[in-house]
Chain length 191, copies 2
């Protein structure tokens, strides 16, 4: 796992080499194929663990924010940036390194790693729908998917850049847009 994380952090997925990983790990070729079908299988396994950790944090924040998904996502960004500042990102940092490891041509988003349904189901349980305050009964799944689609890259950005005020402001402004756009009642007065 350590060797795989190292390799995937160094090169984009398509260029990562099983050869390198097994050489680094000091295990023979055949053993690798005993446990993983191929490079993608290994990558998915690795990611699943890291994504689970991030999801765990988000769930905790969601509870602390009493089901407010907007606040939870903003808090997740903060969390990630604080850890980043303290250079304590650990496992999540490894994930970011791996996921961020793209050739510029192909980006791998966090959500693509896990079956999308799973993430959504886990989050739905903790969300207070009243706080979402939906204008019309859009499918909660669709709404959440939209939120994560938008928040994902922005939070990922937070992992990459140390304390980037602009990025944080951007996330906040985007969240505002989504919150207002989804709101049932009339908008509060403009700033």
């Amino acid at each position: 796992m350590e060797a795989a994380t190292r390799e995937f952090s160094r090169r984009p997925f398509s260029e990562a080499s099983i050869n390198q990983i097994i050489k680094d790990a000091g295990i023979p070729r055949g053993s690798f194929y005993m446990y993983f079908q191929d490079k993608e299988d290994l990558f998915r396994y690795l990611m699943k663990g890291y994504v689970d950790q991030l999801l765990l944090v988000l769930e905790e924040l969601l509870i602390r924010e009493q089901g407010d998904i907007f606040e939870a996502l903003l808090a997740l960004y903060d969390y990630v940036q604080r850890k980043q500042d303290a250079r304590q990102l650990g496992e999540i940092g490894a994930m970011a390194a791996i996921v961020g490891c793209n050739s510029g041509l192909q980006k791998t988003t966090i959500l693509d790693m896990v079956e999308p349904g799973v993430v959504l189901e886990r989050l739905k349980k903790l969300i207070n729908p009243e706080l979402l305050d939906l204008r019309q009964e859009g499918d909660l799944n669709d709404i959440l998917a939209l939120l994560l689609l938008v928040a994902g890259p922005l939070i990922y950005n937070g992992v990459q850049c140390r304390r980037d005020e602009a990025a944080q402001a951007h996330l906040r402004s985007v969240m505002e847009i989504l919150k207002h756009g989804m709101a049932r009642k009339s908008c509060p007065a403009a700033t």
Copy 2:
């Protein structure tokens, strides 16, 4: 170009083989490297052409809709679905096939193909900012990037699925959310 389109439509980028392309095209290996640096270079070149075509359509629609980017994006979805129904998608269909060509692990979004700045600059010239009616002066670039981030996958979905009412409704509802969320004045009454 034809051989390349065929190959990229068949396999995900990472699995596509230059060997296959040159065999199919009947050109020698060296000739390929005379014109393209590598597989990615070829892919980008191919995509640039197709994306330009789609952007051209969007620009036309933006003019027809008098600078309303929301309506233009909805119209783009319609356009793409009509063409799809009439099996006239041609070049754009080829692009969709290629871009859609993903391993499930790595998705290549249309926007990743062209320098993002270029798309934004071209669209900004045609957008009527008054129609966007921004609540606060968020950077127009950021707003547009958000719009395209969200609309991109949905429209791409329109190219893939023939006449998918649900997808269209989803796009419309997402556009509503963004439009309301960005609006300066109070929201119109709920539906």
